[in-house]
Symmetry: C5
Subunit: 337 residues, 5 copies
């Protein structure tokens, strides 16, 4: 569930509610031109002003949202709207794109999967200005190291392009990270599919349900992300140049592909449920068949035995010499019938 | 269900039908400039004219819809269209936004949850004029005290802004109040989910049904509210200034988030039903399995016992010394099989 | 089902097929200005020409569609297109709005519910001209008496307004009449809901099915009516003035509210079916549980009794003094187990 | 299923694949002005040129698609695009509307129902030129005789209007013919509905399935037909004049009505399935109840009988004088319980 | 599932990941004017420059994507954007249409069905330039031989038209190849339908599930292909001339037809599931009926036999002369009842 924006109902739109257990912000910058790269960690907010004036591209990367004073200082430095700051701090927010005066905001959600298969979401807020990209992340550790590496290596278009290309590189990497997680989900779907067909058990329905829940949450994330990127591409007064728009169009295509895959998975998961329910009915039929066959054989037999267990004085069959074997024979015939 | 507008079919559009048991209107005003605040309760309608002329922002807050004369006086004072007055009085109405000459109407629905978890809806009609905001509520008691407190404190943009910002603050607070109720609904959904998986009973289906009903009614309320706010944002000839439009855009985003959450809940509630039905089938299978196993063991045994209970004269087994233990052994073997 | 337009396949578009058993048309007029009212029944078509020339507003109300000659005379008098005349005569038609030269056509469907709860639909075709409103109804008796009363009383805006306001009053009253019928449907839904939860029987599914059918037919009627009114509001070259457009907007809102209610009812009716089906499964489970418990207790007991009913010579238990009570005790233990 | 357009994959768009068993084309013309009518059968293609030059309206009606040479000659005479010719010949095609240079194409599907209730579809391709209408049908025999009769009679607007009105008359008659077939389908639906409620059998599900299939195929035909007529109405550079557009609007309304009816039928057919499934469950419940009641009565009784059939030496009850009647009484009490 | 675009998360957009086991590219060209045809296999990239300058139409057909160097050489020669090259190499991609500077890209998916019925997809990327069409295929062997044959024969519009017509011919042939595969799927659907109605077995549900999966994957392919062709038709700044647009409109119609067929199949497959589930319930009912009838007959009989197997001293019936036959008669009557 997305987060309610305010510490309490009716709070003023300027109020921040620092998430519990949030780490203090740590600022890292990469400032580059085609020719040089200046990389620094643990920068103070007061040192940022210099970078904003220069023509070089600066990536200000903020990890941790745990100190209101630092965040407000940042907001003042970059002239961020109080609502924008709230969207950044009050994680998780629905992915969206907004233009503001002097910069654009793109809220994305970054995925990472731990060893045990547990999925972990983190909000990455990307603010694109004229000479800078400002990103906010909930905590240290992200999937963006390849982007940093590309800036360091200085090959490819990265160092020669503006902050819009850097923003693209970040968003594209965030989307790239969905693929392996979704692939594993697809593998899991196939495992469950085989289980449903070959050996459905009581736990299967729970597995299908969990799969569906994960697919729902995936779709709820990628759908607005797609819309946000589309709004960015179609926006005509933002900080994205036409050549980079082609790159964002590519990111958009990836979101569409992911949606397609998720929809297919959802339809398949729905089909699994049908198979599961019909397998339950089938198994019931099997059980009942066994019972019925058993009953059809033994109930008449027991009845015959009952007859000859009666104590009437005058039962000629009982005294016949071959009465017993004949009765057994009659039973065998009945059972055969 | 929304209310039919008229006291009887075909009544003239000017006719009012005061809701039964409605309290007489009580008018409260807050009149403020950046420098001063004038707050009064139980104001007479005749005293309002003075506030409308002045440049200060005035919030006229009407509680109770129980006196037609007062309402008509108010309508005349603010030049409200007779249809607008009906929408205000004939609660509940579907949330909507309309521009009228001289003012705009936004109908919202305020939620409040009592101790026992019972949800209570109340219509708040917000009329935005050039220097005033006029709100109508069904009864005393609302979630808007934080807004009043912010006006009194005089910090933040509230006192420096116009009536459009005040209207935003009201609407935003109304929407804020949805979050905790929806959160509790989400908690309830999880409780039911656990129940369905661990221990489904006869009452579970009723609980799922009630959950779904509440989600339907929630959606029916938030969906038109979202559309109404969107219409307000896109309206180009209303009393909302551009800086405040950004704030309303934020309220719109919140409605979209709420819709997202509700849709997810609905899909999950639908999934719970599938699990419930399959658990019923599963339990049936279990029961039938028990019955079948029992029958498979004892029916043949009883048959064997029946055979040796027959009274044929000539049954050699009966007279054999070890007949009885051998028969018991045969039974044990059969049961084992 | 809507009616095929022609007496036979491929008939010329001018051909009329008078509905079987249709009554001969009876024309009633109300001709009014703010100052005077002229009301007449059983007017001849030839007398209508005079009213069309005058500036006063004239409501020509035709009941009964049973005489082709009169209808054609009317069509000629008001210059009605032959297709329009067909739509008027070949009831029922789907509600729709069309502009024609000199007048606009709005086809609506009027509801009335008899004592026994039976719903009765009737087509009301409203033709709005420059100085007149011409309505066609299938038979005498309608819900429009309050409109006539308002004209007679002469209060409110009715007598001071043009034919567009009269048309609004008619359409609004037709829509007003849906509310009580839908309310009763809602009550019925609640009754069925209680029945499903408390005491589902064989007839319940039939009741749910009938409810759904009625909701479908309701939706099929209101949906196009909403579209028709919307087309009327958006039409820029028709006989509706801007102030009256606000009133029609209100009628549109009512249609939207009704659609909302119907959709909610449909979702609930769908949910009832799920509850019903699960209650069937539940009851089956109960039945099977009873059977299985019974079988679990008595089948082993009968088996024990069977053993000691065997006639082996050498069964020491049979001759033991406490054999019988011990056997009974064994049975009691088994049953307890 | 619609037909693949080409004799083999990748054939040139000019290639025709004459349908197997297609009859050779037979051309019939009706050439008329308000004053005279010239009707001829078995016209040669070479004679058509004269008609195209004259100002009279000419309906060239081609039955049978079995001779490529004649079809190509026709195409050359009327300057038909090779793709248009393919659409005409490669029946069935999806209904559609296309403007071409010098003429417009409207592909419709004509229905006819044989005595046995079997539905028969046939493609009617209508090409509207400046002075002519050219129709292609798969075989002789159609529902268009009333149109021919109207031309012959010379009354009504037919003879005074252009080829666009003729095209309307043809399309309208094709649509008219859907009504009786759909009505019969509705009657059939009601029969099945009664069967499901009163006396559902094993064959019922098959009947519901066939009904749904027919409704699907109906919808697949009428939906694109509606779109095609709408495209014709909105097309601003075609051979349809404004007065005739009103007539086509009427045809469009009929398609919308038919879609409405079909959708209602589909929802009802879906509801029948639910009733059927619940009736299966109900019947199962009935069967199980019978079994369980039977078992509850007789299993305990049989057990009691078993007890007194035991052969213990020391069973005092056996020797009591009233032992037997008391045992029977005990059984009667048990059964009563 | 569509392929992730990059060799690893966050790789630079220029990076290529050659698919495993991909064959080295082999280039084949067909260069033609109305008068002459120059066809060559195994052309080196360096030889292509000459063809690009000339006015003749050149089809450069690349099979195999296994050599990054060659692909990059080609990209440089045709000035392909690095993202375009990625889309070409990283198969499979979702079908799409994009305009680039100097050329347009249309990604399609080619189907082929092997003897055993196995469906095989292959990506065909079509790049349309001013004088050339450049196609990339994953491997040798395709369905495009008829197109090559048509170029060689030199009849029809092929040799007289530009590269846009050639692109159309390729796309049209790719779409043509869907028809027979879909027809076979339809045949398979009918087989399963008969099986479900006549003789549903445990494996049937698996067959229905596989059918649905194939239909899902078909739809996922054709849907975006339709959109891509539509975008191409509506694009106003691409290399497609108006006369060829008519041909592409025809391809679009074919995609729409295919979608229609697939949707019908999907609805039918969904209906099959309902029939299957109801047949399971039906069979269960049959089994239970047998069991119940059997039990109803024999349980009372066995009870009667049990009564007369009791060992009470005082049972007068036992000593009656006709006791036994009367008891048998009583049993026969009971069974009859």
């Amino acid at each position: 569930m997305y987060r309610k924006r305010k510490p309490h109902i009716g709070a003023s739109p300027g109020t921040l509610a620092i998430p519990e257990g949030a780490l203090p912000p740590s600022i890292r910058i990469m400032d580059y031109t085609p020719d040089r790269l200046d990389e620094q960690e643990m920068v103070a907010v007061s040192d940022l002003a210099a970078y904003l004036v220069s023509d070089s591209v600066t990536w200000i990367d903020v990890h941790g949202l745990g100190d209101e004073a630092v965040l407000r200082e940042l907001a003042e430095c970059f002239r961020l709207h109080s609502l924008l700051l709230e969207d950044v701090v009050h994680v998780p927010q629905r992915p969206k794109y907004e233009t503001h005066e002097g910069h654009d905001l793109l809220i994305t959600r970054m995925i990472s999967q731990k060893e045990g298969g547990e999925i972990d979401w983190e909000q990455v807020s990307v603010i694109i200005g004229e000479h800078y990209v400002l990103t906010f992340q909930e905590r240290a550790g992200d999937v963006l190291d390849p982007v940093r590496e590309r800036i360091r290596r200085g090959k490819g278009p990265m160092r020669r392009s503006g902050p819009d290309y850097l923003a693209y590189a970040i968003v594209d990497t965030v989307i790239d990270a969905y693929y392996p997680v979704l692939e594993r989900l697809g593998d899991h779907l196939e495992v469950v599919e085989e289980e449903v067909i070959a050996n459905p058990s009581n736990a299967t329905i729970g597995r299908i349900h969990r799969l569906k829940r994960e697919l729902i949450s995936f779709r709820r994330t990628i759908w607005p992300q797609r819309d946000a990127i589309n709004a960015l591409i179609r926006g005509d007064e933002n900080h994205v140049t036409d050549p980079v728009r082609i790159y964002f169009r590519d990111s958009y295509d990836h979101c569409v592909q992911l949606m397609d895959v998720i929809e297919s998975y959802r339809e398949m998961a729905g089909g699994l449920l049908d198979i599961y329910l019909s397998s339950l009915s089938n198994r019931m039929n099997e059980i009942m068949k066994v019972l019925t066959i058993l009953a059809s054989i033994f109930i008449p037999l027991t009845f015959i035995a009952g007859i000859y267990g009666m104590n009437f004085d005058n039962m000629p069959e009982l005294h016949a010499h071959y009465g017993y074997p004949l009765a057994l024979l009659a039973m065998a015939f009945t059972a055969g019938g």
